[in-house]
Amino acid sequence: MNHLTDEQFEDILHGNTNVPEHVERCARCRARLDEKRAVARRVHQAFSSIQAPPGLADRIRAGIAASAKADATPERARIIPLYLHRHLWSGLGAVAAVLVLAVSIGLFVGTGSQANAAQVALTEIHHLNLDALGQLVNEQDPNALCAYMEGQVGHCPAMPHAGSGMNTCGCCVRQFQGQQVASYVVQAKDAPVSVIVVPESPEDLGLTPRAKTAAMRDIWQGKHACCNIACVRRGEYSYCAVGQVTQKELATVLNALPE
């Protein structure tokens, strides 16, 4: 007596074939078929409650409109012609960031913790960066990159200096607490780390000074979900390194910024 093969079970589940008589006689095949049907049903049921978030269609339409507008703006192409299309993706990412930020802030304002909301937003930006790594502006020429950032956020953020062993994977503009901020991703030893440059002080971000950089700047630290956060204040901006790495590794990233 030959038991049913996996392929035959799949054909039965898909309704491609009737249940063979063998199954009626064979307790083992009957049990396996019941089990496969039960798993298929449960998987279907598990996803049936998932729906697109309210407003996603509107946000996508806004993203499409923004893309069309960006397409029709030749000035942007003159800044960094090679990466024009990536500006569009940055725009879309910003739309998504606004949503995530809004949700995050909504959640945390409810608990009365604006500082925590800032750390949630930093972490969300890091996740957005990871998901869009292939779409980040990846200009090799530092001057062009600087010009791009100045055009987008009004300043040129410090980046790890050559020879630090930190490769920059790309940069982008994100929404943070209602404003556009610069962000870039560097490949640290164990995983990518996002550096997000925000005007808020580390204290306002709810972080605590716990270490010092090689140049004796305070490193303000925090943690949200699976990500560590470490910030240094440089002039008018806080440079916040965020990633699923140790605080020590985040400090290495911050130490790689030129003084």
Binding site: E7, L13, D34, R42, V43, F47, G63, D131, L133, Q135
Partner: protein, 183 residues
Amino acid sequence: MESPERFEQIVLSHLDSLYRAAAALCGRMDGAEDLVQTTVLKALERCETFERGTNCKAWLFQIMRNIRIDQLRHRRVVGNTVPIDEELVTAKPEAEATAWSDARDLLENFSDEQVIRALKRLPEDQRLTLFLTDVEQLSQQEVAEITGAAVGTVKSRASRARNELRKHLLAYAKEMGFAGRDR
């Protein structure tokens, strides 16, 4: 050929399905939303390539899968690993496949979230195949076209995925103490 506005409407009518697929692929909801947006934008760019009368949803899934592959390829280049949410299912699956004493009753003990998280532990090709067959209930031929595999591969992949999923769930059930009897 539909007008761009009509085509946009058609594409957006599949938003829930796209979001579910993206959630199955990405794991995180924020990543899922990004993937859906990217997919929709790419679909609108390529609307001329859509063959009228064919399954638009399947076509969208194919675009999403290609985008996802590009994302993963890039992450591998930069040395990243695909982030996985904190796992609810932590036990290693058992090597031997045995039938559950009562699969339906046992499965009811899991929350939707636990089932989805267990699914996330499967390799991406198995996960997508199972999603397309069991959740979207597409034909094996359609799944084959979306995943770029032969129909026979789709069958074996779906079967492996189902077996792996039940192993993960069984391991978790034992850990949680609501299963212990194998036949």
